[in-house]
């Protein structure tokens, strides 16, 4: 027994177990997210339940559990049904005791309507009318006619969104720009006659734009009217009916009669919507594209800020500064910086970047927009800079290690050829240390992509009206607020009006965030390996 302890076998087991626990936890987390995140786009079947009291329920069965306070020995269970129809029932979910159910069936004609508002509607289509004239009546006829009409309204909807978002948005942008020009010239004390005539010119431009705006508004109205002519009457399982316009419907399908192939098609169509479209209904439905975009752009801006800052600091500390108590203290400070809670960085970012720097920028460059702040409020630039500050210790430490790992012989070879210290740094040391610098960047990006707390007070919003990158000069709008996947998870999971219904969205968003971090890391690792091959410090 003693020899067993002495041999160290027990220790090997212990180390293996520690590694195993870590692996198990990571594996379990990823498996959980994968299982829940990948399944949400798959259309579930709709089950109609007839209860013993004669009432009916139609919905997707989500899970089954034993009734917690079942006193009898008979195994009593209940099921959780997503019944949808929030406008009728108020709640998306309902628990039903299985003992109360008298009949269950999967009606072929049951429809799922994904709507712009109020969430999904589970029920039956009864009548389709165009401009007051009935086009189809009864479940079968309506179901057959619906796809054709949905294509038409889909086209209308596209036109409407184009005008709403793009055309009117552009006009508003132009008008705002001119208003600010007038305001700016008004702010100047030395307003001259020339400026006044210019002002009149701008004002006529504005009124012309205003006319354009009114025209588009009218066109929008007529398009909406056209769309509203398509009336669909739907009936819930309890017999209540509702008439709505087809414009309100995003997608309609009958899951009980869909083949595997149809379902796969729907799966990818929903997944595509998730990746490429904006969220709707308090972020609970629709896609997360603005959040993906915001996350990636923010990480890029952060990388652009953190690499120069970290690398220059590391070079100073390793190559130029005299090694002594000061540099040692600096190194300790840098390492401790990595341990400061991220919310503290957020508060610092708010105070320093947003209020101090942003406020100053506003005062000198955007006085015409005040009191509405331009840079003096949270924005993607300030959030990225705050995160750069948060992650800079990692880059400094890895770069320093990379520089220290370059053999002294390289340095001497370069200096002996008559290179200055700067030339040696620039041509030999930094290229040789570049794989280490990239390692630092990888760690920094992974940290930044997942960080939420500091962003919440430096520029992230629940719903950003526009992306930080668009067609208006200067294209990249660093002052804009943005959406972020990490914050989206928090918002959808804990702040949405219907947390239960949005749970799948949380899983899908989490999965997406992990995938994005993975993709960013893989890209950096690929780059690092290429550099490593180039600058391998091989000795014959």
């Amino acid at each position: 027994m003693q020899s067993f302890w002495k041999s160290g076998n027990a220790f090997i087991w212990l180390t293996g177990m520690a590694a195993g626990i870590g692996l198990l936890m990571i594996g379990g987390l990823i498996a959980l997210i994968l299982m829940n995140g990948l399944g949400i786009f798959w259309p579930a079947r709709l089950e109609e339940l007839t209860l013993k009291d004669g009432s009916k329920a139609l919905g997707e069965i989500w899970n089954r559990e034993r009734i917690p306070d079942a006193k009898s020995n008979a195994p009593a269970t209940r099921i959780r049904v997503k019944i949808g129809n929030r406008d009728f029932y108020g709640l998306d979910f309902r628990w039903i005791n299985e003992a109360d159910i008298s009949a269950r069936r999967f009606p072929d004609s049951a429809f799922v309507f994904e709507r712009q508002a109020w969430g999904n509607f589970f029920g039956y289509a009864t009548e389709l009318a165009l401009a007051g004239e009935t086009m189809a009546r009864g479940a079968e006829q309506t179901a057959a006619a619906l796809p054709k009409f949905l294509v038409e309204t889909g086209r209308l909807l596209q036109q409407i969104t184009h005008i709403e978002k793009k055309v009117i948005g552009d006009i508003n942008y132009e008008i705002e720009k001119r208003r600010l020009t007038i305001k700016r010239s008004g702010l100047r004390q030395d307003a001259e006659a020339g400026l006044i005539s210019q002002k009149e010119k701008i004002e006529t431009e504005i009124s012309a734009l205003q006319k354009q705006y009114d025209q588009n508004e009218k066109q929008l109205e007529s398009l909406r009217e056209k769309g509203e002519a398509y009336q669909l009457t739907i009936q819930a399982v309890d017999g209540r009916t509702k008439t709505m316009t087809l414009l309100e419907i995003v997608r309609a399908f009958q899951p009980n009669q869909m083949s595997k192939l149809d379902k796969t098609g729907l799966y990818f169509s929903r997944a595509w919507e998730f990746f490429t479209s904006a969220p709707r209904e308090a972020n609970m439905e629709g896609g997360v594209f603005p959040a993906i975009f915001g996350t990636v752009l923010m990480v890029f801006i952060m990388s652009l800020a953190v690499v120069p800052l970290g690398v220059l600091t590391a070079i100073y500390m390793r190559e130029y500064a005299k090694q002594g108590p000061f540099v040692r203290a600096l190194r300790i400070a840098v390492n401790n910086l990595a341990g400061v809670p991220s919310i503290v960085f957020g508060i610092f970012g708010l105070g320093f970047f947003v209020y101090a720097i942003g406020g100053t920028i506003d005062k000198f460059f955007y006085p015409e927009a005040l009191p509405t702040p331009t840079y003096g409020t949270g924005g993607i630039l300030w959030a990225a800079l705050t995160l750069a500050l948060l992650t800079v210790p990692v880059v400094i430490v890895t770069t320093e290690e990379g520089l220290a790992a370059v053999p002294a012989a390289m340095r001497e070879a370069s200096l002996a050829l008559g290179a200055t210290k700067f030339e040696t740094l620039w041509r030999v040391l930094i290229p040789s240390a570049s794989p280490a610098i990239l390692t630092g960047l990888i760690l920094a990006m992974a940290r930044a992509a997942g960080e939420v707390a500091p962003l919440m007070i430096t520029g992230v919003v629940k719903l950003a009206p526009s992306l930080p990158l668009d067609g208006h000069f200067p294209y990249l709008h660093l002052e804009r607020k943005f959406m972020h996947l990490g914050f989206h998870i928090y918002d959808v999971g804990f702040q949405s009006p219907n947390v239960e219904a949005s749970l799948p969205m949380v899983y899908a968003t989490t999965l997406l965030l992990i995938l994005i971090v993975l993709a960013l890391n893989l890209a950096a690792i690929f780059l690092r390996n290429r550099l490593r091959r180039r600058f391998a410090m091989g000795q014959f």
Binding site: E412, A416, L417, G418, T420, R427, G538, F540
Partner: protein, 294 residues
């Protein structure tokens, strides 16, 4: 190895020189008195004059009042046991020792009549004039071409044609051109040890220095690669003054005209190689080259 065997390695060995008797009892090196610096007469034709050079690493003195003249277009070898200061002396000549924290130097080293430790001297242009080859081959992790072109680029050569010519001439000068001319863009790290060392020589001569310092250039090479480098040294001395530090006494005997023997930071003896290896004036030198210590 006896002195007698050593003499056979030297082509011009004279049969008339008697083999010195080997010290019998004393294993410790004999005591040695340093000659006063003033006794060294200045050789006007020499490339490098070293006068009363002292070098300190912090508190410990690594070189003690070294004075010697290194002749132009010849190979001069520094020999001596490990830690005797021969590498330190070599690195003083291109001021690479400046990089060592806490080091201090006094005395003079004159190259082309200018004391290189004079504050007005530009270290960068000094190092351009004095190339160096290191103990371990240390090509940059770049292509063969870029390695050789590094020095000229630093010196300000920008034109492609000119650079190409310099690279070719340097590689030819280092007897490497024929082996690498088809793969100039390949990584220098893919070359063999001997080739890498010759590449380092090519890199050093690409900046057209007057003097080349070699710090045990063959210590990590096999005999064949060593022979190539030695042959190269004999060719190079037509155009360059070469100073070589070596542990290998046969090598010193084979390639150098002049040999300096250093011991514990002092210059014990400096003379024609032939004389050092056949009839050294100092007992200590004899003990060392006969392998009694070191």
């Amino acid at each position: 190895m006896s002195v007698a065997m050593m003499t056979m390695l030297i082509p011009k060995a004279s049969e008339t020189i008697p083999v010195p008797t080997v010290h019998q009892s004393n294993h410790r090196p004999a005591q040695f008195q340093m000659p006063p610096a003033e006794t060294v007469t200045k050789d006007k034709t020499a490339a490098i004059h070293i006068r009363r050079l002292n070098f300190y690493y912090g508190d410990s003195q690594a070189l003690q009042s070294i004075s010697l003249d290194i002749p132009q277009n010849q190979v001069t070898a520094f020999i001596g046991p490990s830690g005797c200061g021969k590498s330190t002396l070599l690195r003083c000549i291109n001021r690479l020792n400046d990089l060592v924290d806490g080091s201090r130097v006094d005395g003079r080293i004159e190259v082309e009549g200018q004391n290189i430790y004079d504050p007005v001297v530009d270290v960068i242009s000094l190092r351009k004039n004095i190339g160096m080859v290191f103990q371990k081959s240390n090509p940059f992790p770049k292509s063969i071409y870029e390695n050789v072109a590094y020095g000229p680029r630093i010196a300000g050569v920008r034109k492609r044609a000119e650079l190409g010519e310099i690279v070719e001439n340097s590689l030819r000068g280092a007897a490497l051109w024929d082996e690498v001319k088809d793969r100039l863009e390949a990584s220098a790290l893919g070359l063999s040890g001997g080739q890498q060392q010759r590449l380092c020589i090519a890199r050093a001569i690409a900046v057209q220095p007057q003097i080349i310092l070699m710090d045990e250039p063959c210590s990590a090479l096999d005999p064949i690669a060593t022979a190539k480098i030695e042959e190269l040294m004999l060719q190079l001395k037509a155009n360059y003054t070469i100073v070589i530090v070596t542990h290998n006494m046969q090598q010193a005997a084979r390639v150098s005209e002049r040999t300096a023997f250093l011991w514990l930071g002092k210059l014990v003896e400096y003379d024609d190689t032939h004389k050092i290896f056949t009839n050294p004036s100092e007992k200590l030198t004899e003990d060392y080259i006969t392998g009694r210590f070191g």
